[in-house]
């Protein structure tokens, strides 16, 4: 069986690295099959990594396999093809009083991608990561079998697929347990904090008391902790009068990077001041709260044609203050521009060997791209290892094999299952080649 393919340049969301790949795009459920000699599934292509590109073999796009298959409105159980995006799910389930149990920062992410990277949200302490709400998945393995997997059925394969970056097979169908909500609106509060210690303390408290919480740092350790909860059915929602334009679009890639230390300083100063003057809780629609960046189309163009990379890692709570402080000082010393710094509290990890989330504080930093950044980040990896932390594979393009093995000590357990379901190593990506998974 040969499927039509096109040769095209593919990369992750941050446009680095970019490879010439053979792209296949099945339109029908039965056309979704593994392709020899090697292949990798690609959902929306939004990870900040090299997980959905493959230079040697083929890349199988699931964008056309995005159908809702069933939706039980009473129980909140959804069954859909893996190419369906979280945005489309919200559009359908929110009017029926249901919500995604875990929402990452981008709504364009596909169901398959959300499982492969085992994404987390601002409610990890309470809800865990995305895959902990999966009722079952159908996985197409290397030999073409369609396996029904869940945490109780073929559970070792299920947990190897969760966080497995697509390397155990093609996720074709997903069944997801939704969460009940009474209103599409969110009630939001912010607190400003003068230093890192207080930011972390406030984040710890806030994440216990509220459904969602996140902290923002301005690079000089001043912070803003934002918490949010779903509005109850009988609560009156006072929406802000000031209406933002529907969406603004950055029309082209800037020829140079407009994100520099000066513009960052200005933005951070203004943001901090704006949040400081804000005290009463305010209300936003769920879209405005969860996906603020989608108001600005192509915002990544602001970084110019070199783009940017994101560095996300987690420090165990006991070392979080030391670790983050040391990391930020390290970056400052090396002149790294930290455009956007976001902290989240993570709860207990799950059984998945390659899942990122573990108990502690995660820090995500947007950094304008430059060649010298890789050496700096490799030194930063050492710092993270020192504090028993790890780097998020879905946000990484350059982690070394040695550091990866230390950060993910359960890797060998995963490798055993990988060998069992894919002995000939058909499922490969640039990421798996780099880390020799």
């Amino acid at each position: 069986l040969t499927q039509k393919q096109i040769k095209t340049k593919l990369s992750g969301f941050n446009n680095y690295p970019e490879f010439n790949c053979k792209l296949i795009r099945p339109e029908k459920y039965h056309d979704l099959v593994p392709v020899l000699p090697s292949c990798i599934a690609r959902g929306s292509g939004l990870s900040y990594s090299d997980a959905a590109i493959n230079e040697q073999g083929s890349v199988i796009s699931t964008t056309r396999l995005n159908r809702f298959l069933s939706f039980d409105c009473d129980q909140g159980i959804l069954v859909a093809e893996a190419g369906l995006t979280l945005r489309e799910i919200c559009e359908v389930v929110v009017p029926n009083g249901w919500f995604l149990p875990v929402i990452p920062g981008s709504s364009g992410v596909s169901l398959g991608g959300a499982i492969a990277a085992d994404v987390h949200g601002k409610n990890h302490v309470h809800a865990g990561s995305f895959s902990q709400h999966i009722a079952w998945i159908e996985l197409i393995t290397a030999c073409g079998d369609r396996l029904h997997c869940s945490s109780s059925e073929q559970s070792d394969i299920f947990w190897a697929t969760v966080g497995g970056m697509g390397l155990t097979g093609l996720i074709s169908i997903v069944s997801l347990a939704l969460k009940k909500i009474e209103s599409p609106f969110m009630r939001i509060s912010t607190t400003v904090t003068p230093d890192l210690g207080q930011t972390l303390a406030r984040l710890e408290d806030a994440s216990c008391e509220n459904t969602y919480s996140v902290a923002w740092l301005d690079g000089y350790a001043r912070g803003v902790v934002t918490t949010a909860s779903h509005v109850a059915g009988d609560e009156e929602v006072a929406l802000q009068k000031k209406q933002w334009p529907e969406a603004i679009s950055i029309p082209f890639k800037f020829p140079f990077n407009v994100i520099n230390s000066l513009s960052i300083y200005g933005f951070n100063y203004a943001y901090y001041a704006a949040q400081k003057s804000r005290s009463v809780p305010y209300y936003l629609s769920y879209q405005e709260y969860f996906f603020p960046l989608e108001k600005i189309k192509n915002w990544s163009f602001l970084y110019g044609k070199n783009g940017f990379i994101q560095y996300q890692c987690v420090f165990p709570s006991a070392h979080a203050l030391m670790g983050i402080q040391e990391l930020l000082e390290f970056f400052q010393r090396h002149g790294v521009i930290c455009a956007l710094i976001v902290l989240k509290k993570l709860g207990q990890s799950n059984q998945a060997s390659l899942s990122f989330a573990k108990e502690g504080i995660t820090i995500a930093i947007d950094i304008p791209f430059s060649k010298k950044i890789f050496d700096i980040l490799e030194s930063a990896d050492g710092l993270i290892l020192k504090y028993d932390g790890r780097v998020y594979l879905a946000k990484d393009v350059r982690l070394t094999q040695a550091n990866f093995f230390q950060m993910y000590p359960n890797y060998l357990l995963w490798k055993k299952i990988k060998y069992q379901v894919d002995p000939k190593n058909i499922f490969q990506s640039a990421l798996s080649t780099r880390l020799l998974l």
Binding site: I6, R25, F68
Partner: protein
């Protein structure tokens, strides 16, 4: 003419798993139409029917239809009538480009003509008579810009689509007097499995946008619709080139 209302009205989609049909289905579903999806791949049709039902809260049905099996068409038509009761419109969206390995053999050219032309004529005759009697309804036929000029690559397909276009012209003249709309759609390059991975494609259009444009035409007045619109002018240029020159061109 009264303004067309599609809410809860039934539309039959022939060749429903084709990419352009999927785009049209979405646009029809947004109007609240009841859809009957027909085609050969029942697993696909079931997924599509469920998807449309869940996304748009509409009623959907699906059933087996094979354009090439002409004898089965009356039974299929009766089945559709039984399920839907009254039919408001039909969208003819199936098509077959042929297998490039043996595109110049009669066996393959026969398949191309049977599926694209005879199959359409066979099933549409039933719908046409039904709509003529009902004095209402619409027929949307997806032909192709390929039918505007025969080319060396796949002239059996070009001939079939050319025949289909001519068939729609006559059908339109007959049925327009009976308050039935006939719209001929001539898509250029659309991002479908038919064109995916082919070389020499340019200005390829998104099938969802194409589908929307087609259904929008139900509320407007055109009889012949080129999608994307600029294909009208590409075709115009193509038709103006005299044969002695055209035969030397390589496209």
């Amino acid at each position: 003419m009264n303004k067309l209302i599609l809410k809860k009205r039934s539309v039959v989609i022939l060749g429903a798993s084709s990419a352009i049909a999927k785009g049209c289905c979405k646009a029809l579903a947004e109007q609240g139409a009841t859809l009957y999806l027909a085609g050969r791949n029942l697993t696909e049709l079931e997924s599509l029917a469920n998807d449309l039902k869940i996304r748009y809260a509409i009623e959907t049905h699906y059933g087996f239809f094979d354009a090439e099996n002409f004898d089965s068409h009356p039974d299929f038509f009766n089945e559709v009538c039984k399920v839907l009761g009254e039919i408001e419109g039909v969208l003819l969206a199936f098509g077959y480009l042929g297998n490039s390995q043996n595109i110049f053999d009669f066996s393959e050219q026969k398949n191309i003509l049977n599926r694209n032309l005879i199959g359409s004529v066979s099933i549409l005759s039933l719908f046409a008579n039904y709509f003529e009697k009902a004095q209402r309804g619409f027929i949307i036929g997806i032909s192709s810009v390929a039918g505007e000029r025969g080319r060396s690559k796949n002239y059996a397909y070009d001939a079939a689509k050319s025949g289909l276009t001519t068939y729609f012209q006559g059908l339109n003249q007959r049925l327009s007097r009976k308050n039935v709309r006939v719209i001929t759609v001539k898509p250029g390059f659309v991002d479908t499995p038919m064109t995916f991975g082919k070389t020499g494609m340019f200005l390829v259009a998104d099938p969802e946008i194409v589908g929307r444009r087609i259904i929008k035409q139900l509320f407007l007045r055109k009889d012949v619709l080129y999608v994307p619109w600029f294909w009208r002018y590409i075709v115009l240029v193509m038709q103006c080139i005299p044969e002695f020159l055209f035969k030397k061109l390589s496209f």
